[in-house]
Subunit: 147 residues, 2 copies
């Protein structure tokens, strides 16, 4: 059965909402339920790629452990493209929180995701999250604001 495009986009939007809510309250099992087992993730931090959802689970657990309390996470400029059982999206995500050392931290991240509808459920099969870098200085650009 082919789902109408508008319906597929709405379903993907709900998955994004689910992901954002799960990040905010650090619900690792909820996050993992959104991922295909063979997820390939390019994260903000090394290594170059995380192959398999289990590898990326550890990354989330490290992130959650680095923040004291909930994480303020917002998605902006979300654009979803979908057809049939396939979709991709991109957005600018603002992450804000307090480290376990008590330091307030915030940054804008670029977020791209690929999704497939598998057995009727939309799952993330690819993630790419990053910040730009200044190649001359070799430094990450963590203080950029969306225009």
């Amino acid at each position: 059965m082919t789902e109408p495009v508008a319906s597929a986009e709405a379903a993907i939007r709900r998955r994004v909402d689910d992901a954002v809510k799960a990040v905010r309250v650090k619900d690792i099992d909820r996050i993992m339920s959104l991922y295909a087992p063979d997820l390939v993730a390019f994260d903000v931090v090394p290594p170059l790629q995380y192959v398999g959802a289990n590898a990326y689970r550890q990354r989330w657990q490290e992130t959650f452990a680095a923040f004291s309390g909930p994480i303020d996470y917002e998605v902006r400029d979300l654009q979803i493209t979908a057809e049939g059982d396939l979709g991709f999206l991109h957005s600018l995500n603002h992450v804000k929180g307090t480290s376990v050392q008590g330091q307030k931290t915030e940054a804008w991240l670029r977020w791209t995701a690929g999704l497939r509808r598998i057995a009727g459920v939309w799952l993330f099969v690819h993630l790419h999250v990053s910040v730009p870098v200044d190649l001359a200085s070799g430094r990450a650009a963590l203080d950029l604001q969306p225009v």
Copy 2:
């Protein structure tokens, strides 16, 4: 007309080959012919996003001007997912060259792209290229190798 999945993937693979060849010989017009006008690109360098193919054209011209001679550009671990008129892909891309100052430079980039078949032609509508960063030091990880 719905194209078989294998055929869509093959068509996208040819577009990737086209893009790689164009980068190697710095053919800006060939590169631009692969982009949808409303391309949104997240590049290795600031700003957070390039909105519109024309904005990204300037970025390529700056890149080409920074290298003396051709650019050695290779795509590894390419995974393409396609259905109907939609596709996305990710890969690890190795870029190598000599700067106009005579310095040899190389890095592995993570590359994600979203494509649409518009009027029968597959075009890139979204690009995301990045390197990981070490958040503690704020430095870009430019010396990583694929496992």
